[in-house]
Amino acid sequence: MNLAVDMLIGAGLLVLAWQTISGRSLFRGIVLFVVFGLTMALAWARMGAPDLALAEAAIGAGVTGALMLVAFRRLVRIRPDQCAQPALRRSRLAVPVAVLAGGLVGVIGLAVVAVERDPALAGLAVTEALTDSGLGNPITGVLLLYRNLDTLLEVAVLLAAFLAARTVFGEDESRPPTPARREVPLVGALLAIIVPLTILIATHLLLAGSREPGGAFQAGAVLAASGVLLVLAGRLQPATALSAGPAFGLTLGLMLFSLVGLAVMAFGDPLLALPGLWAVYLIETAMMLSIAMTLVLLFAGASGLRRSGP
């Protein structure tokens, strides 16, 4: 029974992936890609990785899908006839190479799974160390206590991606994605409910991250969703200049993480040895805000945001 569910999900993933890459329409491809991401989230849940399921649904499917959609819309705005897109190329090599690559991954993967192995040293060390830390979620432990340089640099990668994208933001994107038209009353009502609710959910995900699935990245993506809504509804307008507020939001996570990680050295502790759970929460909150701000700015295709509207 369980295996049957897994098989269904696996088959769904393969079909969706196939349709995403082989479909005629780009727009359809994006929609299918998002559905693929959501199915991936199911697969993660089945594989005993609820943290990854949350991350995949929020970041992999949600954020990537939104970014792809908005990029597609910019393409359409530059030239409306996106039907003139380059067609799929024919290549005699494509199928053999793909089969070879997939086969290689399959064979080595099966070879690894087939042998009886001892549990990983690092994994055992995490389980052992976790009991002293006061954290209940081993993944949060790995990300913020044991391998936190990875996490810090990952936030730096996100910042670098934004800064790199900023070098190619076009001038005309400073116009709002939706022309400021008369606001639909229902949208106001929706925002009034959804925005506080997403903030609540993001906070929950952040706090739950210490014991249950969740954490700064998932929370940041959820928070970004409400920012994206505000941008879409025209409440937040993209701006070309990097103003103080957004700049602060962008750098907060990286700054605070680095400063706390360095400050502990003054007390004789090793670099990045966080002094307690309060530091974990503090840094995660800052990271959540930075991630959300970065994602919203990437979505808006702008260096800054300003408020507008009522």
Partner: protein
């Protein structure tokens, strides 16, 4: 299988049927408005049935409350998005008529 489990399974199954009907409508109906009609009506009811079935299975008030919240949120999202899609479609149709 207890009575509540049977009832829950029934609810889930009916909910699934409503989803199926909504999807068939989405695929088969001719224009945006009737598609929206099929999708929002049938899926909202389907979601309600699935949520009630699941809360029966879970058997706690906490889960039931959470599922009810999910249903309400789904309702809200469906309402607003259906409204926006219909508005957009009408604006486009009007523009098309003028041309």
């Amino acid at each position: 299988m207890s009575a509540s489990e049977v009832l829950a399974s029934l609810l889930l199954l009916t909910g699934g049927l409503f989803y199926l009907a909504g999807t068939v409508g989405l695929l088969r109906f001719p224009d945006v408005y009737s598609r929206l009609h099929a999708l929002t009506k049938a899926d909202n009811l389907g979601l309600l049935l699935v949520c009630s079935g699941l809360s029966l299975l879970a058997g706690t008030w906490r889960a039931a409350a959470l599922l009810a919240t999910i249903w309400l949120l789904g309702l809200l999202a469906a309402t607003v998005s259906a409204h926006l899609i219909a508005r957009h479609a009408r604006a486009h149709d009007a523009a098309g008529d003028k041309r």
